[in-house]
Subunit: 392 residues, 2 copies
């Protein structure tokens, strides 16, 4: 089985195969006013997007968490993520951006000070220039947010070393900072559901498929800390509870579900089960969200399982992955239009319709105009940096 590695620059050829291999669902949602990226198959898969779709359609609150690795320059591959984030923001989501300074330190040895500089000079103004609303976007640093680290410590009690080695392929030579850094990402993804950052609600994390290990790990951990579970029965839905005070908790669940309009219940204390006879699969999300509200009252470690969408990794100008560490592979958002033109001219393909035209005229620098506009917006955006960055 192929191992997906968040720290490599490998390319994936067959996304459908990858999707099936890892149990990622095909993305087939018909979203209102969605940008082209949602329609062209660039977003090829998801985990748990149903919640986000429901939030968008019902205009209920949801959030977006995205991260930036302050290790190099921003390029067109990163733009894909921000296009999605901006769309969710237009649909009502609150936006949180994690500066992965601990991860940059762990995997690349970049100091926290350098990471801060890169984030504020390179990424944040570009995000705003790309269309994020600076008034409704919050940027924070992993290293400075105590809640992120606390989740990492506490929740990792239910993951063991073997699972870590299996998910990430770490070896004996891997340093301990690196080994623990995925748990910091779990903290990033989950902490935005704390009351202080917006409360329990569905969260979407748009990622490249190389980040899937973090999503699987986070969703697994959420699952392990849950005390309620639901499963479809011959008749209706079964709600199961694995904590103390079974009767009291199930009665409270019944009461809350009644308020949502369900009427027919059967309770089985020895089975720790409450059956909702007049509910079907289509009620799953509503029942689940009711149970999460209830569990929140007594379990500080309850969270909505975070949703993820997976987009294809952008092919670089040199044929491999577009990567900051291979300058000629990427158009950086801060390249001048001239630099970008030059890169495109030297690229593996330059965008002409036929090989003949390509040979005759050279690459077509389509991006030049777009970059000119982007540079203007980026200058304008710099003023907003101070509003969106959170220091605690």
């Amino acid at each position: 089985m192929q191992l997906i590695n968040p720290w490599s620059s490998q390319q994936y050829k067959d996304y459908a195969k990858l999707r099936d291999q890892f149990g990622i669902q095909e993305f087939k949602f018909d979203l209102p006013d969605a940008p082209p990226i949602f329609r062209r198959g660039v977003i090829f898969g998801h985990r748990g997007f149903e919640y986000i779709y429901r939030s968008i359609m019902k205009k209920e609150k949801f959030g977006v968490l995205t991260g930036l690795m302050p290790s190099g320059k921003m390029h067109f591959g990163h733009k894909m993520t921000i296009d999605q984030v901006a769309y969710y923001q237009r649909m009502g989501a609150d936006v949180h951006i994690a500066v992965a300074d601990i991860e940059a330190y762990a995997s690349r040895g970049i100091s926290l000070e350098k990471a801060k500089e890169i984030a504020l000079e390179e990424y944040v103004p570009s995000y705003i220039a790309l269309g994020l609303d600076p008034e409704r976007t919050e940027v924070y640093f992993q290293s400075r947010r105590i809640e992120v680290k606390d989740i990492a410590w506490k929740l990792s009690r239910k993951v063991n070393l073997s699972e870590f080695l299996a998910i990430y392929g770490f070896s004996g030579e891997t340093n301990m900072t690196h080994i623990f850094s995925p748990l910091i990402q779990v903290g990033d993804i989950l902490h935005v559901q704390y009351e202080k950052f917006g409360g329990r609600r569905p969260i979407i994390v748009p990622v490249g498929v190389d980040q899937d290990p973090h999503m699987r790990l986070t969703r697994d951990i959420v699952d392990r800390w849950r005390m309620f579970s639901i499963s479809p029965q011959d008749r209706g839905l079964g709600v199961f509870y694995k904590g103390e005070d079974v009767r009291k908790k199930l009665e409270r669940a019944r009461e809350m579900l009644k308020e949502r309009g369900y009427k027919k219940f059967e309770m089985n204390i020895p089975y720790k089960a409450l059956y909702i006879l007049d509910a079907g699969k289509e009620d799953y999300l509503e029942v689940e969200s009711t149970l999460i509200s209830l569990e929140e009252e007594f379990n500080p470690n309850v969270f909505y399982p975070p949703a993820a969408t997976y987009h294809r990794l952008m092919t670089g100008l040199t044929g491999g992955k577009m990567s900051s560490s291979i300058p000629e592979s990427a158009i950086f958002l801060t390249d001048t239009p001239e630099e970008a033109k030059k890169k495109v001219r030297n690229a593996k393909t330059g965008g002409r319709a036929t090989l003949e035209e390509q040979r005759k005229y050279g690459g077509e620098p389509l991006l030049g105009e777009w970059l000119e506009e982007f540079h203007e917006r980026r200058e304008w955006a710099k003023d907003f940096v101070k509003n969106v960055v959170s220091w605690d």
Copy 2:
């Protein structure tokens, strides 16, 4: 080779052998006004105590770091540590007490709230009753001190997984919180050398030998982050530097060493070395402390290697280790004199001089009187708890 495990209750029979096996030095310092525990062979070994001895004799600043595991009740085994801490405090040391709430959570599943309660109800008043000066003692919680976690993250970059498995014997089933918790202890031990908590200075950590793995790990990590090293030469001491700007740094070292009175130097830039020709082994500590002051100017991760003393583990009343988790093995400091008398009477040995006397009269409850006094002092001590606990 026997593995010392900080989380077990195993007993060690032959301390001299253990000492030799792990490279612990024999404790042979003649300390002024030292309590009996330093003289009776109870403290059987040390690592790096020379610095502490020097600080005591020269009346230079040094600190004590000790920890408490808020998982049970305090017994006479713990008292041994506090007797030492109180002595160092009388000799001028500042005292920091770490409440190991993250470790209690990681290894025993005790919630942070419960840990707080145990620490404040059970341990802190007892510490004061045992003679710590509440005005000059600081108690903090691992989970609430961001510097402790930051050191854990950052410095663990120079330890790899294999080393961890070798030191602690973790297996695939070990949970990730547990695996990372020793690094939190590294953070505890080192963070008190940050400016905010007293600055770079020698620190003594009095421990039972079962805690030696944490001391070895911490001292190793300190060593790996150091940029200066010293080694004795045929003539004098050699100072070596492994960072950038070799000439500049060595010239600065020479300058600082001149201020301390050394006069004869030889510099060898290709060897990255500065030889102090008029220094000998007896100057090691002074030269080293000069180099630490210098390194502090440009390396945030420089620390004095922490010193440790090792005391024998107290034999329990039932013959094994005195342990909170085996109530009949220990006299708890909060046992009433009557309870303690009863335990001693039922103990494996009751303190009579001969087997005959022991059979005839039963155990001798020598501790009763002492406990009565202790209980009075403990009540008095409760008022001081609020002064010594730090919440950040």
